[in-house]
Assembly symmetry: D2
């Protein structure tokens, strides 16, 4: 049976829980928040829906001891309320860092040996912290990273062509933050390079890239949080682990080439990252990826 823990029941954690219950994507779901009342309130709301759901899921507000045999733990904690409109994900680090340390200590004490997937921001710094603190090999720790930014890029590209975003292939790479970039050499629409299509149609790649990068803020500035797309990305990544899919996904993982956690495509299965995927990039893209890795490391150093 598939046992999943969610740590942090803000908007993202709560939406992830909802997605899992509606899809029947776990058999046992443990909700944990530093404020146990919050976890309990979400459990009650989910329980109230169980008579109406197609699948049975055992849901409860638990503690770290319950995560000992969890297959996947999702770190969805955060302090997005601390970010001012137009701000940077890095603002949260000061608040999230001590909680990540505490969660790691508690997970270590529980004996947890599954896969940790974090949405907590700044994502690449946070997964590196988890990797530092947790008694888990690096390959068992993932961040959603630019999985979300890649989905945003696909939406932007598809929007300019009035197409289903699911026909866009390609990647936003690097930091889940300002130094990320769209690797246009990888972006294809139904098999054709989007950069060529854009040239024909007079579309500005830089503007599209900036819209992808700022996509979260377009939502955040009004809603004061984002939840739908980040939850979909988290659950998508979780399902690849739980079904041992051996599928490629873009996520933040340890990449020995940069000696850093950073988002490039990786092979995901029940053991987390089961293989690295070498993406053919242009020289310019390689420079940008190195710069983004450097930027992640600079942020980490600031906090070491």
């Amino acid at each position: 049976m598939r046992k999943v823990g969610i740590i942090g029941l803000g908007h993202v954690g709560a939406t992830v829980a909802l997605d899992i219950v509606q899809g029947g994507f776990a058999d046992e779901l443990v909700l944990i928040d530093k404020n146990p009342e919050i976890a309990r309130a979400e459990v009650f709301d989910l329980w109230d829906s169980l008579a109406l759901q197609p699948y049975h899921v055992k849901i409860y507000a638990g503690d770290y001891h319950d995560l000992r045999d969890a297959d996947v733990v999702l770190s969805t904690l955060g302090h997005i309320d601390a970010i001012k409109p137009g701000g940077d994900r890095f603002t949260e680090l000061r608040l999230n860092a001590p909680e990540v340390k505490q969660v790691s200590d508690d997970l270590n004490a529980s004996g947890f040996s599954g896969i940790l997937i974090a949405t907590t921001n700044p994502n690449d710094v946070i997964v590196e912290m988890y990797s530092h603190y947790l008694n888990l090999s690096q390959s068992r720790i993932l961040g959603t990273g630019t999985y979300l930014d890649t989905a945003r890029m696909k939406r932007q590209v598809a929007g300019h062509l009035n197409l289903d975003p699911r026909c866009v292939e390609g990647y936003a790479l690097g930091e889940h933050g300002n130094s990320q970039f769209v690797a246009w050499s990888t972006v294809r629409v139904a098999g054709r390079l989007f950069s060529e299509i854009a040239k024909e149609k007079g579309l500005n790649l830089d503007a599209i890239e900036e819209d992808s990068r700022q996509g979260g803020f377009a939502v955040f500035n009004t809603k004061h949080y984002t939840n739908v797309a980040i939850a979909a990305a988290t659950v998508g990544l979780m399902n690849l682990v739980l079904s041992d899919a051996k599928s490629s996904a873009i996520c933040s993982h340890y990449d020995p080439q940069f000696n850093s956690y950073i988002s490039t495509p990786a092979l995901i299965g029940k053991n987390g990252v089961e293989g690295l995927i070498e993406l053919p990039l242009t020289a310019d893209e390689k420079v940008k990826l190195q710069a983004s890795a450097d930027e992640i490391q600079n942020k980490i150093k600031l906090f070491s």
Copy 2:
């Protein structure tokens, strides 16, 4: 193609939109809020998820003109933030009533001729208002009513027996408010009357009924809103209409026996309420149901 409109993008409306998109339950989804920025922010978050969803849904922030040919419109507007902990759903009426009038005028102007399903509270009063204002026959206007309270009752009953809530049958009837009651003569677990099981096990029916009635507040007092279960109820009801299910469901609808909107089981299909269902009730339950209908009418008179 299934076209659905959502009016009011607070927590309930946004969660309903999410449920619809994840389940592929509509082909075209129009989001409207009195604050267009809010609708747009939700649309952006949903768009950002489209590359990750299994189904394609056309989603946009629209206006009432776009609802002319909608199959179903969901009224999810509300002012739950105006309710104080421990409060009554009736507190919202003063704020919701003028908006319901405006929405009705705008829907009438659009030529909308589909089915309206409201979650707006106080639910029975609100659907009666919609019925008064809208150019639609009474049978085309529904409220989620005690669909949600019934799900909460099933959870409470199942919880005492450590069972899946889906094996509990029966109904919470009357007002989606304090005068509602559990019709224990209808509540069965795997074919057996729960009242007998409760007697054997020394369970207190009144306490269980009170927990069902107050279930929303157990969530609300901490989260300051409820969304998961009410959204599941709304989408469940909507799916019965969209698939012309000819299925029985408990919801707030016009019941000529009481000359009032009130929750009793009804037959739901593409035309809304397509038939009334006569539920065998005890004399005591009949008295309670009449009293609950009176309570709804009293509230309506206060505001006429």
Copy 3:
């Protein structure tokens, strides 16, 4: 991870495999047939669909050794081709019995310790055989029994009222064979006894019961097999086990009251039958249930 084995890849086994893959209801699916070519052909057809499926499932043609750690094994073997139109499920016993013995020996040798669910007919006799041969406690062996006949009864009842079959509650009890019967005292439509509705509308309960009982043959006489509904019943039961639903379901299980496998409602969870459910029956229904149990035992004695 959820590991499921299917033994017997005729129409039922193949359709069960299809349902599981489309629904993402297992993470690992092992197909076994006495003719390995058949299992391999189904695996190839399923593999050809994997790029088009929403979920990843690991599928392979295996042997009994692969079932050692399976959570559920489904016995879908059968010789329906041996039944002549209008025939009795008992005709198959002569052919199925030695295969059930062999499957049991092979499962025992594998060390399988999960739950076995059989669709093989005559179902109650077959599950008793499995119980005799397998190194598993009685509660870990289930037959689909009258789960299917109950669904057929709901369809027949709903059809006479032009309703969604999902609003019908109640049970067909006893043997998955000619001695089964509809316990009309349990059959309700939206909370009301169907027997009363039938009286009002002049519907003949006996004729409806006979249509339910013969429902399989109405399909079989033309298609020469049935697969859709029996597969849905099998997968439904399997999902209750895999999600540890603690849900009531009607299925063939060991009932100490009759010292026989027979279909009455039972509480289903990860350990198979986790509790018996006492159904309030009329005196007449109790007599019919005992008679059906006797019939099952008579058939078993014929073959002992």
Copy 4:
């Protein structure tokens, strides 16, 4: 509401019906077979499952008159039983052609104006026939074509790398028959050209292509039909139409470049083919595609 007709209830049609009902992909489903008994038997089996399905679908054995307002009609008729192991899809043409003429006449008489999607073989010849006979514009007639062969190619490529087939991009192009070919310049695994990976790993592209092309026969030679993957392809294509997805899909459609129906990627929405997609191909691939178009036209001429 989404209304779909299925014409031809052999293994493919029956499996398509099952997929649609399980997924809730239509609200009204009309089954038609030249042998009405066959359609009725499938309807009965589907009805028997309705109490167990998550969604309501109105299903019935209809006649052509019922298809007047269908959104999509699926031509799944065929005579696969006439093909000998190792045979060619063309063998069926002699038997299928007069039925296609009759179906077209009946659809024209009904006033059907939706989208026709055919799985009937030889697929490209059959859709050209439908286009000749039906009172529908060419863009409203599609064949599953190499949608299926493309899925088979993805499985073969993924199988050699022990990966999820969903991470393979690219196309099998041309005839759904022996002249089809894999356009290796379009085949990428997680962004990297598979031809390069194959070179590194010493994999033989020609052998993989031949396995893709012969994938159906590997199933057919044992099962005597294929149904799972072709049904998944059909339903996938249908869902793009019903949801107006504006998504690219590989299917057999009229391509003015070749003045022929042939499989290349096309833009699919509620009007069928809503746009052509120019795929960058190598000179060698262009020659193969022209040759495949010629082969389709040769077959058509043989039968004109």
